[in-house]
Amino acid sequence: MTLANSPEQSVSSAELPDGSDQSIESFVRSHTGWMLSLAKRILRDDSDAEDAVQTAFANIFKNLQAFDGRSTAKTWMHRIVVNQALMTLRKRRPQSEEEIDELLPVFDANGCRIEDDWANPETPEGLLQRTQTRSHVARLIDALPDSHRIVLILRDIEELSTADVAEQLNITEANVKVRLHRARAALKKLLEPLMRGDAL
């Protein structure tokens, strides 16, 4: 598994704290950053994300002895943060899931795609040079329904495998694939004004 957003690729178990106050403090300092940005990405709320990180650290410390080294420590910690954030997310009021249907591709009775012409689309490289692009895209991702947004984040951003995402969300791999494709298709629809050059 690769973790695209992590500054260091992995943490070996030797880098887990040995129990001294000093090792624990430096461990907490070096991992809070990526754990917090991961939790924020899932929860879209700073204070919920901080709570999730705090609970995740408590779980990490509690299970430190049980860590078996079968995965890297970073993978193990990543999983704990995702689990904790998902737990918080489940406690929230469920969102309507139907809204994504309106964003999916449309076909006529013969199964032919109905797609507006793409005359001179903007390139991602060009768009990314503009300062507002990133925050605009981030807002649109946040607008996706949670069930699809989380799959997109874990697969396309965190680069977890389909099997890992299925396990963490407790859904089938086929379901992960369907949701990922729908999330991407919906996001493409939301990004169309930007990519066609008539947004911002």
Partner: protein
């Protein structure tokens, strides 16, 4: 006029997609994920790419789909690689304090 021309084109496509080794755009849609994951092999891949070759709508669609993925990755990956999250000191202290109580 443009919409009328498009309707005619779609009717022609609709007939063409019934030929052997041809699929509809709707069927094409279901294979996009597997195609991008490199999971289509042999005949399936051939059929997918054949549709891509004859259907401008799906070509445009797939290009936009991939651009959108690229924008998403660049937005959520690079921005934070370049600017690591500043670590809130009160959170660090809270984690350490909680640890002390165990």
């Amino acid at each position: 006029m443009i919409t009328r021309r498009k309707k005619v084109m779609r009717r022609i496509h609709g007939a063409m997609f019934k030929l052997p080794l041809m699929i509809t755009c709707e069927a094409f849609e279901d294979f996009i994920l597997a195609y991008l994951d490199g999971e289509l092999k042999g005949k399936q891949k051939f059929i997918f790419e054949m549709h891509l070759g004859v259907c401008r709508e799906c070509r445009d669609y797939l290009r936009a789909y991939k651009s959108s993925m690229e924008l998403t990755k660049a937005t959520l990956t690079n921005s934070e690689n370049a600017l690591p999250e500043t670590v809130p000191e009160d959170l660090v202290q809270a984690v350490l304090a909680a640890r002390g109580q165990v």
